[in-house]
Amino acid sequence: MKRFALLGFFVVLAVASIVLAQSPAQATLRLPSGDRSVSYVQQSGQTFFAANDVIPALGGTITPDSTGYKVTINNATAAFGPDSRFGVVRDELIEMPVPPLSIDGKPYVPWQFFQGLLAKAANLDVQFDAATHVLLVRPQQQNIVGVQVSIANVQGISKIVFTLTGPAEYSIIKDPGGYVVRFKTPLRAPFPEQTYDDPYVARVQFTGSDVRIQLTGTDIAGDAYQLDTPPRIVIDLHKVAAPAPGEQRPIIGIKPTDQPGIRTIVLDPGHGGKDVGAIGPNGLMEKDATMSLCRKLAASLSAKLGARVVLTRNEDAVVSLDQRTAIANQYKADLFLSVHMNAAVAPRPKGSETYFLSLEASDELAKKAAEVENASHAANPSSDLNLILWDLAQQDYVRESSRFAQAIQEEMNSATGVQNRGVKQAPFKVLVGATMPAALVEVAFITNPEEEAKIQSDEFQSQMVDALTRAVQRYKTDYETRIGIAQPPAAPAPAQVAPPATTTAAPAPAPARSGT
């Protein structure tokens, strides 16, 4: 009988715990304007707040519809659904640990939803204190500087880039085993410590306002400089003769000079390492074809244009898409060209095509957004427009990129007889962050057996290298003529690079190349 009583007790306990877990309790929503009482529940280790309590208290509105809830706050629109752990605000994702709950027909969202929402829509920080049951909302501490770290080794130089969320004072100190970047403001570190598989950088460690860079040897020296928009500290590390015992190796501050014209060109051989890209029917890998072509093109551009040419990779190695663009930005390149081989399911497609970045200018939705922007920009610069427009570095250079892409496509067509597939726009990841005119060329279809064979032939490669060299030369002359540092050739008449029909942009005056 005792056994039955015990069983019954546990059954009642289990039922009670389920009921109690679903019963909302009251927590404090602490705003700069004062405290409010809001409902919350805890379930499976997560804390959920009643959106119908919190959103109005923040001055926003929440509206249900058949697919979820729409939230408007501070002129920003956000949304979340009942079964989704992702919400959106201004076209950015808000990640939650678990999907929202529905209790008595009311939405309860994990507190992290408010953290993501208010950070993006109202510059507010949100923290939840589980001990006191306080959901704290306060202005973001502007004096904390966020730091992102990227490291890339290109042509024997390891380039460390610290990208800052705002300007900050700092000094660089030589330290046994490496360098320390000492900031005068608190940092928001991306990680406490990270090791790198880099020839010169072993580890980066954040301690308070110090960033310690541990090098792999003592025969490594660095050049440091600062870039703006966004603020960045760049340290170039390279091999030197081993120092004598006790010798200090100072960092030499250098800043690249801004010289007008097309002087530095970054070539990006697509794919690499385990990312082989597309594979032809006879086994040719895209990563090998792009590497081979880019090496020849680099030599040609250096010889014929006297340009400084940098490859984003010069070996069979994985380089992330962000790193490729970062390398172009860090070298303050004047042109960026990513080289690829195309692929299709069917073996028939052939030809070359050139892309520049799509900013959705051809999209009907974007056109409407542009109309809204034109009508309301002056009155309300923080309108809902961010839902549509991409805050991309490349957007300042799209007109120039279209001219560059057009020159490439025309020269390739005239030189090789490859089928003209035209200049196109698409949201290519590798072009997104480039702060210079940038294009991506698909030289030929590696999946077409005939083109696969051509890609491997010296004759075809030579044709493509010549065509691409002429395209760069043509764009360089056109650009430098427009900004007034070069005279157009007297005769024959200069080939002006016309903007392609795919853009809505009018012929533009030469843009001011903002510093990177």
Partner: protein, 178 residues
């Protein structure tokens, strides 16, 4: 004492039995009906055009969306039309948020381990989903892709998935898809 135990167990049993019984006709409950859907695939001119297919769909957009996207991923009806996604692609989830964003969560061995294809096929694949979702659901305005439940840079190394993608009319063959 024994009576008390019996009462407690009886109460527990009654509580369990009060659960709403599963409906025997889910189709009727979800208002499932065969409806024509526009599934976008590649044309011989290397643009996108719809194939009209009759599919049994629930009435609610959020229930219908995954059905439509899965139907698209199955591949085209005609053998001569190229399949855009790897055959092992799975649709983990697809749903519409109230601001017009469609979330499509893809997975499967090829997409997870590295899809070695070119820009053209990736562009066609990505926008086949965008055009299909926005063409069949009036409130859908753009598509945000996830891979295996989280944000992803690209599907195959080219087309950025960092933002939601609205339709791109220049990729659609207007002669076939007015």
């Amino acid at each position: 004492m024994r009576r008390a135990v019996v009462v407690i167990l009886a109460l527990a049993l009654v509580t369990c039995r009060e659960k709403k019984p599963l409906t025997a006709d889910l189709n009727r409950e979800n208002k499932v009906a065969v409806r024509p859907v526009r599934l976008f695939y590649e044309t011989p001119d290397m643009l996108l055009a719809p194939e009209i297919r009759n599919v049994a769909l629930p009435e609610s957009p959020n229930s219908a969306l995954p059905v439509v996207v899965r139907e698209l991923i199955k591949g085209p009806g005609k053998k001569e039309t190229p399949r855009l996604f790897p055959a092992d692609t799975i649709v983990r989830a697809a749903y519409l948020l109230p601001d017009g964003t469609v979330i499509v969560d893809l997975g499967g061995p090829t997409i997870t381990t590295g899809w070695g294809t070119g820009s053209h096929q990736e562009l066609m694949a990505v926008y086949s989903v965008v055009e299909t979702a926005t063409s069949n659901f009036a409130d859908a305005r753009r598509v945000r892709f996830l891979v295996n439940g989280g944000p992803a840079e690209t599907l195959a190394g080219h087309i950025s998935l960092a933002r939601s993608l609205p339709p791109m009319p220049s990729l659609v063959d207007r002669r076939v898809a007015p």
